[in-house]
């Protein structure tokens, strides 16, 4: 009980760090001061570390992986979102997209906290072991990075629309240039494609050992999704403009949501874990 309380407190502390980081990120948009950008990054890193501690503590307390419960998987997803954003920050050193990306992590972590501890989803003993754990964890990281591509594609379209319509307010002034947003999108899409590909390969190896077949609807949808994101990465070579590519990317994310919800619940024969 004591450990669970500590876990809740750490989750709450991480949430507060993310909220504070978001506040600083918004302030950075309004008042273009480097100190505000630095404060955002520091708070985000602090939240990320505390959040990691909370996930470890929670896993120890429940004697299972975070993704074995719905709140746990949401919290892990939120942590992965921050991690993926951190990777983009390291690559591009661009903090101005923070206010649009951090709220996603806040939302998922807050909902997971409101849901409490949750019931274990997987009782089948085959659903344990490092191969399965890596498959799920890397897949969640892939979903997190593709969630960022979804937001970045929208930011690209917003900035493009502002340029076409000559609406040049605060958002226009503070959002980075089209080529920077597109660079961020490309990096996120590339990370997502790599992560989902690795997760799929690991999943297929696991499936070969544990299922009658390693092929089901979820795998098919994931491969289509990977194909779509590879297409967005190759779009410039194929002569597809930024606007169309952004819409393809958004469509890819729509498929991801479909795969995560409808396919998981109604279509797949094997990806049902009880």
């Amino acid at each position: 009980m004591g450990i669970l309380d500590g876990n809740e407190a750490m989750n709450l502390a991480a949430l507060l760090c993310y909220i504070a980081a978001e506040a600083f990120a918004v302030a950075h948009i309004r008042r273009d001061r480097d100190a505000l950008g630095t404060a955002t990054t520091v708070l985000l890193l602090l939240g990320f570390i505390i959040h990691f501690g909370a996930l470890v503590l929670g896993a120890k307390a429940t004697q299972t992986v975070p993704y074995n419960t719905l709140p746990g998987s949401m919290s892990l997803f939120a942590w992965m979102l921050v991690g993926a954003y951190g990777v983009l920050l390291l690559i591009h050193r661009e903090v101005s997209t923070g206010p649009f990306l951090i709220p996603l992590a806040i939302l998922f972590l807050a909902v997971s906290l409101l849901m409490g501890t949750g019931r274990p989803l997987m009782s089948d003993p085959r659903l344990s072991g490092p191969l399965f754990a890596w498959h799920v964890t890397i897949a969640i990281f892939g979903y997190a990075t593709l969630t960022l591509t979804f937001v970045l594609a929208q930011l690209y379209l917003i900035q493009m629309r502002q340029l076409h319509r000559r609406t040049m307010g605060l958002l226009f002034a503070r959002l980075p240039a089209l080529d920077v947003v597109w660079g961020l999108h490309r990096s996120a899409a590339l990370l997502g494609v790599v992560a989902l590909s690795v997760a799929t390969v690991l999943g297929l190896i696991w499936a070969r050992q544990n299922w009658r077949t390693f092929w089901d609807a979820k795998v098919a949808f994931t491969l289509v999704m990977i194909g779509i994101y590879i297409f967005t990465l190759l779009a410039p070579r194929l002569g597809l403009g930024g606007k169309r590519t952004a819409w393809v990317s958004i469509g890819g994310y729509g498929l991801l949501i479909f795969s995560y919800t409808v396919v998981n619940l109604f279509i797949t024969a094997e990806h049902v874990f009880r």
Binding site: L163, A173, A177, G241, G242
Partner: protein, 431 residues
Amino acid sequence: MTPPSSSPLLLVGWDFRQTPVELRERLAFSPEKVKEALGQLRQRGLLSEGVILSTCNRSEVYGVSGPAVEGRDSLAALTDFIADYHGLPGSEVLQAGYRHSGPDAVRHLMRVAAGLESLALGEDQILGQVREAFRLASGAGATRSVLHRLFQKAVETGKRVRSETGLSSRPISIPGVAIELAQKIYEDLSPRRFLILGAGETSGIFYDLLLARGAKNITVVNRTLARAEELCRRGGQAAPWEDLESQLGKADIVVSATSSEEPVIPLDMAKKAIHKRRGQPLFFLDLGIPRNVDPSVARLDDAFLYAVDDLQEIAERNRQERQREIEPALRILEEELEAFSSWFNSLAVVPTLTALRQKFEGIREAEFDEPLARMVHLSEADRKKIQVMASSMVRSLLRTPTEAIKDEPDPGRRLDRAETARHLFGLDRDP
């Protein structure tokens, strides 16, 4: 008629608002003249410190009054000197300018540094000019503690206003707007390929601007190749008009300023160029009148077309936005003015001497009165004698610094000495 100033801080100036350009030209100071005039002002005892700010829009003399003007109208004396120096009639110079002293002079300098007094509201150049004016005066040995602190504060205020308000954040000139727009498509312009159509005056302005921004890849296409080659003498390449279509497919940013009656870039040509660029955005800046680029190009997804009217409209909107930032800027200004005034007022002779006396009395109480109270073996008469001796010693110690401050005839030097005393004896520190 301005009343004689009671403050030693003075300003006389002439700017674009009040002074006709012909007179402003004659009141301007070159760097050499700045040094010479400041030297004379100090030699004649009109100023003990001085800084001259001379730009194309203003000539201003800031100073701390000298011994020769004590009790006189120091602002009038300063104005007369400037008129004499430039060989102009005193009355004309007097009527065409403005004169401030004390906090009003400080406020004016802060407004200038913040860009609130500039022709283009919030422009950045003036801050560098204020800094340069102070550097020049310091180099000529014409500044001491007061103007040093004043100009330091003014520059700080200018920076604060720029970073904490939107007064300077959005460009208000056509080239500034054009560059901002281009940087919203390609953040780093230096590696981008620029294509300039036409080799006239407007093209020349943009060519210079792009070179100044570090553009490395500029191609100028003109109907007369020789004129394009002439424009490119400082960098870039000239190409014949026949190459326009092929050059368009390679360019990231197109600046068009030809005098053609018909669009030189029709829709089909733009479409082909975008197709060649494999979806990479193409930025068109159409500065031609009539327009050089078919307006329907703006409807292409990866083309961004801006004509002169668009840029003017954006510049006007930005100007209005800057106007809205005046109030927040003024709030910052008043905060900084208060901070400076509080420091400056502390330099006045009476508060400095009072603080000095209190400091010494405090030391006397701590070092004599308190130990004396513990020496119970002393008689009351002995105690009194020791107390008198201690008081007498404090008076003797204070006499020299008090006289040095009080009896200094030069007001600027007097402030300097007060500042030194405050610093040496830690009068601004808590006891």
